[in-house]
Subunit: 133 residues, 2 copies
């Protein structure tokens, strides 16, 4: 793993939260993006060179809506950038981590993403992401 690519925060109302986080960071989000396959609307903020992603579910079946129902709004995942997602998934499987999707899927922000099950990582939902060409 190379670095923290972003931190994902689950929110109920993206519009309201965009205002809140703009006040917090002192500048507004720089882009929004819908990821239809995941049922989420997202927005991105920069803090220095770091990214914070807000996620709002677009329907009740969205993983974000379910997360909020269970745990409330808050930090949802940490995404780590990797160079070669397939070899990293192989390495982590051998280490005993539970991979939620072995076939990388298309996430927001032009990334291929794989998630690790929180029950194998101390309750932390971890996303691996590789920039798509």
């Amino acid at each position: 793993m190379k670095k923290i690519e972003h931190i994902g925060i689950a929110v109920k109302d993206l519009k309201k939260s965009n205002e809140l986080f703009a006040s917090l960071f002192g500048e507004p989000h720089y882009k929004i993006e819908e990821v239809k396959s995941e049922g989420v609307n997202t927005s991105f903020f920069k803090v220095g060179t770091h990214k914070i992603e807000l996620l709002e579910g677009t329907n009740d079946e969205s993983p974000i809506s379910k997360f909020i129902e269970k745990k409330g709004e808050g930090i949802h995942h940490i995404a780590f950038a990797v160079d070669d997602i397939l070899s990293e998934v192989e390495r982590l499987k051998k280490e005993g981590f539970i991979v939620l999707n072995e076939i990388p899927k298309k996430g927001a922000d032009n990334k291929l993403v794989v998630f690790l099950h929180p029950k194998s990582t101390n309750g932390v939902l971890i996303e691996l992401c590789q920039e798509m060409d």
Copy 2:
């Protein structure tokens, strides 16, 4: 705010989790530190230039023990580096954020720290930290 300084993860058993996260990141923690005033043992990992802090409560009254009791293990806070913690606290108070400790206190890793109440930040516990001289 300049950058994400670190992400804090609440764990029940620091020794076990140090092994788990060493497998995850592909290298072991580089330091451990007790913060007696907060009732926590901490360890630090590097992922590229980023830091991950694991926190274990040392007694039942520790904020970490209470967090785990309520929410289970998982991501506990995001810490953002600031140059001038007092002026940043003033700015955030004016924006309507609830500051948990207006007087910065000594945190791990030679930092002065202030926390914002999660109820004012979409459920996210945010730490501001300034390097001590």
